[in-house]
């Protein structure tokens, strides 16, 4: 029987090995780009998982935070000639401020006001991207966003971006683990279990929810910035309501209240999405099946693995150990 701590370490080592293995077994840009997408979505989903799994709140506007990071980086580097790394950091701070302003009034209230506020916010941001004139490039977006670089090393292909994004994902998992094993993490779990009892333990529930919400917005913003510098181009299309929902589905499928659930969910959804795209080449209607299929998957997961794939699989593993 493994101790909790060893299991955690084992999980981390296995994940790191899988991450390291992909570029070793393939140099296909297609597969590597899928790897990058999974990494970027994981970055967003990890934050959203903390919000949904521990703070017990749903955001229906995380695509907008991702978009603010992407557009923030694009605008600051293209229009103002900023250093790309500085632009990423400043865009993340600005996004954090926006999240703070949305979360502050809504998270004090009981109930799912955050979901409604972020839903509206997501729609507004999408409109702003579309109608932003020269600043955002309107519906056609902003092209020619520069690659990231460290000195003369330029992150100009999928492999290099992969090697930038995935260490960040692993770092996020370590940070989440540190958070959850601390006083603040216990406070979050307490809020999830019983808000009344949490408050009787001197926990300011609204402030803790706000903290997680802002953190999740920062994660989304950084992922969006990396996306913009990777594809060198942004337009409003990827940052709409559908992507917000897909992010929520990733968390639900993988399991929010687990370290790896959001990563597993991001991987599962991205792979399924790509399979449908491939299938769409031979069987045209398959292309439009993704929304339906995602709906079916969510229902099945909620029915059979209500805590998500990560916890569900682990429970089965533990049961086998015990037998």
């Amino acid at each position: 029987m493994f101790s909790e701590r060893k299991l955690e370490l084992l999980g981390f080592v296995v994940a790191a090995l899988i991450v390291a293995a992909l570029p070793l077994v393939t140099r296909s840009n297609y597969l590597l780009s899928i790897g990058v997408f999974i990494g970027l979505y994981s970055m967003v989903a990890i934050g959203l998982g903390l919000l949904m799994g521990y703070a017990g709140q749903v955001s229906l506007g995380h695509a907008a935070f991702y978009g603010l990071g992407a557009y923030g980086s694009a605008i600051l580097t293209l229009h103002y000639g900023w250093n790309a790394w500085l632009a990423i950091v400043v865009a993340a701070f600005a996004t954090a401020l926006v999240a703070y302003l949305i979360g502050m009034p809504t998270l004090k209230l009981h109930g799912h006001y955050l979901a409604m506020a972020t839903l509206g916010f997501g729609i507004i941001v999408r409109i702003l991207f579309n109608e932003g004139g020269n600043l955002t490039g309107g519906p056609s977006g902003l092209p020619a966003i520069a690659d990231l670089n460290i000195g003369s090393f330029v992150f100009d292909n999928d492999l290099r971006i992969y090697c930038l994004v995935w260490p960040l994902v692993l770092l996020q998992v370590v940070l989440s683990r540190n958070l959850l094993r601390s006083r603040l993490g216990r406070a979050l779990r307490a809020i999830h279990d019983s808000e009344i009892a949490a408050r009787s333990c001197a926990i300011n529930t609204g402030r803790h929810k706000l903290m997680v919400f802002v953190l999740s917005a920062i994660y989304a913003s950084v992922a969006g910035s990396l996306y913009a510098h990777w594809v060198n181009f942004v337009n409003p299309h990827p940052f709409g309501f559908v992507f917000s929902i897909e992010l929520v589905v990733m968390v639900v499928v993988g399991g929010g209240a687990t370290l790896w659930g959001p990563v597993i969910g991001a991987a599962a959804l991205t792979v399924i999405d790509q399979l449908l795209v491939q299938l769409g080449h031979v069987f045209a209607p398959a292309k439009d099946m993704d929304v339906v299929l995602f709906g079916v998957i969510v229902v099945l997961v909620l029915l059979f693995l209500p805590q998500g794939l990560a916890r569900g699989l682990r429970r089965k593993g533990v049961a086998r150990d015990g037998a």
């Binding site: 601390s182 406070a187 009787s200």
Partner: protein, 260 residues
């Protein structure tokens, strides 16, 4: 019953109305430092409501509650808890997804200060704080006799031990005032005896405590002072022996439950 000291908790004409129902009706009493006060009364008398008002869960219709002269009413629940008012709940409110130790550690939340950034980076200051809180929590667990169950999921314990987890969680915050809401509810006779002894030991530490209890023998045994509520009104505040002889109290109990 003369006290020179300033009361630790002053309940001053607290009134709480739900719609047309007066749940707590102009109740006033003082709890002096180090005293353990028993709050008794038939079901629906307003005991839990009074706790809920003092701890900020419900807004009072009128009245005041003072902790060492500082007004509590109007403050949020977490602020009141932060000032050192700890409580347990009549219907158990443990954190079911957490281990026994983590439950109790959560009770010491008010003694930690680390912010988000130091926490996610697990800086040495955070580790030191964690060690300090763990020591506090272990002490509380030992005090209630659950040290050997620290790693067990709290939800897997029998209800009697879950009560002890709640008490340990309240103690881990090293409160100035402890409010226990029917800690013996649902316990076996044997467990109730152990609980009585535990409350006695809490009293011996000098922690000011108010305990709501139905079990009369337990109240008479451990409480120096007893306050009786009936239909929201305070009938009497006196020593246990005087309370047992008080005709109004006897009438209230015989009328409602046919027991004394």
């Amino acid at each position: 019953m003369a006290h020179d000291s300033r009361p630790l908790l002053g309940v001053q004409r607290i009134r709480k109305v739900f719609g047309g129902l007066v749940a707590v009706d102009n109740v006033s009493f003082d709890v002096h430092p180090g005293v353990i006060l028993g709050l008794i009364g038939p079901n629906g008398a307003g005991k839990t409501t009074l706790f809920n008002v003092i701890t900020g869960l419900y807004a009072a219709t009128s009245g005041a509650a003072m902790l060492e002269g500082r007004p509590l009413l109007g403050l949020t629940q977490d602020t009141i808890a932060c000032l050192g008012v700890a409580r347990t709940f009549q219907n158990l409110q443990i954190f079911p997804s957490m281990s026994v130790l983590d439950n109790v550690l959560t009770g010491s939340h008010r003694h930690g200060y680390s912010g988000l950034v130091p926490t996610v980076l697990r800086l040495p200051s955070v580790r030191a704080e964690e060690r300090r809180l763990r020591a506090q929590a272990r002490e509380a667990l030992e005090f209630v006799g659950l040290a050997d169950r620290a790693a067990v999921p709290a939800a897997s314990l029998p209800p009697g031990q879950q009560r002890l987890v709640e008490i340990a969680r309240a103690l881990a915050g090293q409160p100035r005032l402890l409010l226990l809401d029917e800690p013996a509810a649902g316990l076996t006779t044997r467990e109730t005896e152990v609980l009585g002894e535990l409350i006695q030991r809490i009293a011996d530490t000098g922690l000011t405590t108010v305990v709501i209890e139905h079990d009369m023998s337990l109240v008479m045994e451990v409480c120096a002072t007893v306050a009786v509520l009936d239909q929201g009104k305070l009938l009497a505040v006196d020593t246990p022996t005087a309370i047992q002889a008080n005709p109004q109290v006897i009438a209230a109990y015989l009328g409602e439950e046919g027991q004394a």
